[in-house]
């Protein structure tokens, strides 16, 4: 089953390449109607291309759905959504230039960037030009006053972590916990916050200083030491999608029998492909694409994404919340917000929208008062799920603090 799907996806990818090349030659055809230009700024090349690449693709697919429905109605007018993706190469210099580029093209609303250093650099531009952005980075200074232009588009690791740990304590009897992360700014920060959260819950943190270098192929050496501390649970903090499968596999091969988790979204199929049955039971925070909880609309989005990009990536189910709430808020704030983001920001506090991705529906709103002192976070549901044969099975759905 998986096999055939992948074969198709490989062929499809080749077709897309050809088609895209053709489209380039003809140029993008645009109707002479109002367009709403929205940006996606993130790392789309190099080792971390997955982060920004999926973000951009998600946004484009969602925009395609809006446009197929005739566009987005804001006030009296209907707008086609045009997504401009800018690659910052994961470089702070590039993030700043990219943000300036989007601003100069008249873009007022931007998704991304994807790391702390790039988001902080883009912030200088966002704040100065009154541009709204939704970084997928967890640095608190982005969302706390005096900063006001950034909205966290997903659940921060320090918010997911304790929720998962608490559940583990109650349901799996976890007492000793260990943290492993890549030796890089973002993951280390998430590890430190996760570790602090675990300690606050009364867990015994047996190891939280072990890191591996970016690009490590063999995780036996580092995990040997971590497993040597006999944890009940191992957290892979801020783990890059490319490392999660090999890490799980190595831990199991070394005889680790406890549970494992990460706070960030991961694609279960990719994990299963690398780690096989060893990945069963791996816990991750995800989007709402799990069969048990997803709505028909989510299914439609998955189909659309798969059609556009060849293969579904579960992380897209997380990234899709950003554009969704952004457009819904724009609709509620009215056409003035298209020019003036102060109107948009004013609308944040009272905004209540629909969550179209969950079967049970529910509200979408802006939270974050607890963590940032102002409503600068999307109330993405904390869907905690476990991998089972390449699919996610939801464990529970948590809620963000207000």
């Amino acid at each position: 089953m998986i096999l055939r799907q992948q074969r198709q996806s490989a062929l499809r990818r080749a077709l897309i390449l050809g088609a895209a090349a053709g489209a380039l030659a003809f140029g993008t055809s645009a109707y002479a109607e109002e367009t709403l230009k929205i940006g996606a700024l993130g790392v789309m090349s190099g080792p971390f291309a997955g982060w920004g690449g999926v973000m951009c693709q998600t946004f484009k697919s969602r925009a395609g759905m809006w446009n197929d429905d005739g566009g987005v109605a804001i006030g009296d007018k209907t707008y086609k959504v045009e997504v401009v993706c800018v690659d910052d190469k994961g470089d702070p210099k590039g993030a700043q230039t990219g943000a300036e580029k989007l601003v100069s093209e008249g873009v007022k609303y931007i998704q991304g960037p994807n790391t702390d250093s790039t988001a902080e650099s883009a912030k200088t531009v966002m704040e100065a030009n009154g541009t709204i952005n939704m970084p997928y980075a967890f640095s608190k200074s982005l969302y706390k006053a005096p900063a006001s232009q950034s909205i966290l588009g997903m659940v921060a690791s320090y918010q997911v972590g304790p929720v998962i740990y608490k559940w583990l304590m109650e349901n799996k009897g976890v007492k000793k916990i260990a943290f492993v992360s890549e030796n890089n700014a973002d993951p280390i920060k998430q590890r430190d916050e996760g570790s602090a959260g675990a300690k606050a819950l009364g867990l015994e943190v047996v190891s939280d200083q072990e890191t591996y270098e970016s690009g490590t192929t063999d995780f036996f050496p580092i995990l040997t030491k971590v497993i040597g501390t006999a944890p009940d649970h191992i957290v892979l903090s801020g783990v890059s999608p490319s490392d999660v499968g090999p890490l799980i596999k190595a831990a199991r091969e070394l005889g680790f029998t406890g549970t494992m988790s990460t706070e960030t979204g991961q694609d279960p199929k990719a994990i299963y492909e690398v780690a096989g049955d060893a990945s069963n039971g791996f816990i991750a925070a995800g989007g709402a694409s799990t069969e048990a909880i997803r709505s028909d609309f989510m299914v439609k989005f998955i189909e659309r994404y798969t059609k556009d990009w060849g293969e579904w990536n579960d992380v897209a189910g997380l990234y899709v919340y950003g554009p969704e709430i952004m457009i819904q808020t724009l609709q509620s704030a009215g056409p003035k917000a298209l020019e003036d983001t102060e109107v948009f920001k004013a609308a944040l506090t009272g905004f209540v929208g629909k969550n179209p991705f969950l079967k049970d529906g529910g509200e979408l709103k802006y939270v974050g008062r607890t963590d940032y002192g102002q409503a600068r976070q999307v109330s993405v549901p904390i869907v905690v799920q476990a991998v089972e044969n390449g699919e996610y099975k939801p464990l529970f759905v948590g809620k963000l603090p207000d």
């Binding site: 080792p47 072990e210 591996y212 036996f220 050496p221 580092i222 040997t224 490319s242």
Partner: protein, 286 residues
């Protein structure tokens, strides 16, 4: 500790295999192939496509990874490096060319292969317990194959006519040309052999690790570290360098906090090179 030593052995063997390809190219062409890691990555994807997508046996994919990436290397030598090397004033330009190739291959791979990490079904299942340490059977198969490949390569370089010609070329191009050896063909072949080894190691290791399009640069940097430690351009040095780095990494992770391990490895390498600029086995080179 048995586990640590076993880890070191596995890591060292895989590193040695990775380092061999880059050192061959360096010794015969004096080119530091910055695209080595990207070629390794492509090798992994070749095996993935043959094995998982097309459903062919792993070993067939492995042979193909050597052939395809090797041919890619021959093409690189013929159409990129040779014309440039004929006209440059400074040899360093080849380094730049290799870097450009690396970025090109990586971004192309991202378009063609996508952003996800890939793995193949295990080539062997089960785990062997050895003095309290655990060694998955898959790893045993891989390191045995890797060791055989290294031995085969050493035999090829040491005892065949082509191998000897390659060695001679590494020592003195002009003298080799005077012996009636066709240098053009030989250097393209040597380059292809080096890149083929990169592909082969990527293809073999995908069986126990995984591969994704962004893996290249980190692999390249580690490969440089290995050949610097062992001595650039010397085959035995590359193997030794691979094992030394493998041991440093495994033992370092076991004894030090993870975040300091590579900082200390880098400092050791810096100090070591200051004392022994040509590595453990290296010959002086300008």
């Amino acid at each position: 500790m048995t586990q640590v030593m076993l880890n070191a052995l596995v890591v060292g063997t895989t590193y040695a295999l990775i380092a061999l390809g880059i050192t061959i190219i360096f010794s015969i062409m004096k080119v530091v192939n910055f695209a080595h890691g990207q070629l390794y990555m492509i090798g992994g994807f070749v095996v993935y496509y043959f094995n998982v997508v097309f459903g062919l046996p792993f070993w067939f994919g492995l042979v193909m990874s050597f052939l395809i990436v090797g041919l890619l290397g021959v093409a690189m030598e013929l159409f990129l490096f040779r014309p440039v090397m004929l006209r440059v004033k400074r040899e360093e330009v080849t380094m730049l060319l290799a870097m450009g190739t690396a970025v090109f291959l990586e971004s192309l791979a991202l378009l063609v292969f996508g952003e996800k990490q890939r793995g193949v079904p295990p080539i062997a299942t089960g785990i062997v317990e050895l003095f309290g340490a655990r060694l998955p059977t898959g790893r045993i198969v891989v390191i045995v194959v890797a060791a055989m490949l290294i031995a085969a390569l050493m035999a090829f370089i040491g005892y065949t006519k082509t191998g000897r010609a390659l060695r001679a070329m590494a020592q003195d191009r002009e003298a080799t040309a005077l012996q009636g050896v066709n240098l053009k063909w030989l250097s393209a072949m040597g380059f292809g052999l080096g890149t083929g080894l990169a592909g082969l190691s990527g293809g073999l290791l995908v069986a126990i690790f995984a591969v994704h399009t962004g893996a290249g640069t980190a692999i390249s940097i580690k490969a440089f570290l290995m050949i610097m430690i062992g001595g650039a351009g010397v085959l035995s040095g590359a193997i030794l360098g691979g094992f030394v780095l493998g041991f440093l990494e495994s033992v370092g992770y076991a004894l030090l906090p993870g975040s300091l391990t590579f900082l200390i490895i880098f400092l050791i390498v810096i100090c070591f090179l200051i004392v022994r600029p040509n590595g453990i086995m290296g010959k002086p080179w300008g």
